[in-house]
Structures are given as structure tokens and as C-alpha cells.
Amino acid sequence: MTTIPPPIPPRDAQAAAAAAARFAAAAPADVRYAELETPVGVVVAVITRKGLARLDYEDWFGGLDAVLEDVAARLSPRILRGGAALDPVARELDEYFAGRRRTFDLPIDWTLVPAFGRRVLRATARIPYGEVATYGEVAARAGSPHGARAAGNALGANPVPIVVPCHRVVRAGGGLGGYTGGIERKQRLLAVERGEQALFG
């Protein structure tokens, strides 16, 4: 005899998937993520034990895989999908887009943000709902009166848009300036805060 047929492996993809789901639900991951639907598109929410570390527009950052690979390299590769810890993120975003929430209570994980960026983003978080400030004003509040450009860079690197409302920072001359996720989203978020819900059907 030349060949001997090997034994056939147990075929049980459903049982394997169920076992993997049980594992993912309970395992002690460092990072958990979810894709959340919002009126401004799908966002990838990434949380650690410290708080919300990332909120990325999925179409802007290169998709879910790109977001998770970046997080694996910079925070921890121990990343799993879902988990109850993400529920408050989804709930607060829903409330915000429904016009029922003006400030976010979610803790933020600032690990990925350098010191100056943190000052800029904390100053940004204090701009009241529905109002705007200029890049220069935010820079001054962050302790860098001549740093409008640096503040713009820090806002462009905001890892948690919407929650830290960098869409409320605009140009001194009246222009909107840039936005991570595209200028259209900035316009829509400002419209939400003006109570113009009808825009998004």
C-alpha cells in the first residue's frame, strides 16, 4: 500500500465558534472594542481599564483592521471584541446624537496623547456644547498663547473625537478649519448641537 488515508478531523465549526465566543466574553483582555453605528458613520470604540482610548471614524482611519493593528502595536495586543464595559460608550453616543446629552461622562485613557496634546484636548473639552472657540483661544487656554498651529496639530491627533469635541474648534477668520473624519462631519456635529436634527434623517 502506498498511501494510508489520515483520520478525518472532527467537523464542528459551530461548537468552535461558540467556545471562542464564551472565551471572548469572559477573558481578561487589556483592550476591548466595538463598532458603533452613529449618524456620522461607523466609529470604532476602543477602551482600556483606564477608559476610552480611541474613537475612530472607520472609513477615515483605514478600517477596523488598521485601527486594531495600531492599537495592538501602541497599547497592547491583548484585544478582544465586545464586552459590557463598552455599553456606556454606546449609550452616551446615542444620547448625544439624540440631543439628550451635552457633556460626556466617559473616562478617557490619555496614554496615547503627549503632554501638550492633553492640555489642548482638556481645554477643548471645556468648550460648552453648541459653542465654538478658535485654534488660538484653545492654544492660549492650554498655556501656549502663540501655538495656534501646534494646537491644530494636537486637535488633528485627537484620539477620541466627538467625546472630546474638537469639532468645536474653528478658524479665527470664520472658516471651519480641518477635521479628523472630514469637514462634512464637523458641520454635522455642529448642526446636532444647534438642534438641527432634521438634517440627518
Partner: protein, 155 residues
């Protein structure tokens, strides 16, 4: 290749790990061993420097869990009579019986057949996982399959 996010690793390796464990310890014990395998993998994961040979790596962990399971079972009091069986589709009964015979083979042959045919690991990686050459892995597989054929043919 960089280390993938653990979720992707889990998605990609869950099927071979599950099949390996069902073959190595049987269906009843497979889930406990599966949970322990991926828990150990999660704990050790950040120490990996790259994403190469992840299947061989996780199947090595699964092999240790299977060995631990068999050791613990030998230590425990063995109930008289057959253990309770989980309902299994008739078409799979023959395969399960074959894997039960695989579990009785000498250690090297058993390990090679489980890794190669239940874990779907290439012989090169089987050899690396067991600390032997690719040719030694092929040789052990041939011997194991021959012995299996003789046993099945003898009944």
C-alpha cells in the same frame, strides 16, 4: 509579520484548536481545555515578538492542556462503566472512534497525527513543535497511520 490583535488570532486559530482538542481529549473535555488554552495564550501573548508560527505555538499550548487533562483523569477515581456520551451525529461516530484509537498510540505518533491532521499543522511545523525534524515527523505519521490501519482492519 507583526503580532495580530488577539481577537484576530482567536478567530483564525479557534477551528484548528477545537478540532485538535476534540481529537486529543474527546468532545466532553474539549471546551475546558479550549478555554484554558486560549487563557494561557492571552497571558503569554504580549511576549511574542512577531506573528509567525502562531498555529504551532497555540497548538503546543493545547497539547500541554491535553496532557494535563489526561494526567488529572488518571489521578481521579475512574467510575465503573462507560462515561456518559454527548449526542453525536452518526456520521461522526466512526471518526470519533478513530481518534480514540489515535489517543492510544505511542506518544510521538499520537502527537504527530493530532497536530498534523486534527490541528492542520504542516509537517515542518509539527517537527518544530515536537523538537524533531520534518522527516522524523513524516516518519512518525506513516508509522502511526499504519498501526491505525492494522487496528481498524483487525476488528
Amino acid at each position: 509579520m507583526p503580532l495580530p490583535p488577539f481577537q484576530r488570532f482567536l478567530d483564525e486559530q479557534r477551528d484548528p484548536v477545537w478540532r485538535f482538542l476534540v481529537a486529543a481529549v474527546g468532545r466532553d473535555a474539549a471546551d475546558d481545555c479550549f478555554q484554558e488554552t486560549f487563557l494561557s495564550a492571552l497571558q503569554a501573548y504580549p511576549r511574542l515578538r512577531h506573528g509567525e508560527h502562531l498555529r504551532a505555538w497555540v497548538l503546543t499550548i493545547a497539547s500541554r492542556k491535553a496532557i494535563d487533562h489526561h494526567r488529572a483523569r488518571r489521578r481521579a477515581a475512574v467510575p465503573v462503566g462507560a462515561p456518559p456520551e454527548v449526542a453525536t451525529p452518526a456520521s461522526e461516530v466512526a471518526d470519533e472512534e478513530t481518534w480514540r484509537l489515535v489517543r492510544e498510540l505511542p506518544a510521538r505518533q499520537r502527537a504527530v497525527l493530532l497536530l498534523r491532521y486534527a490541528g492542520d499543522l504542516p509537517h515542518r511545523d509539527v517537527g518544530a513543535a515536537l523538537g524533531c525534524s520534518e522527516e522524523a515527523s513524516r516518519q512518525a505519521a506513516r508509522e502511526g497511520l499504519r498501526r491505525l490501519r492494522d487496528q481498524i482492519g483487525a476488528r
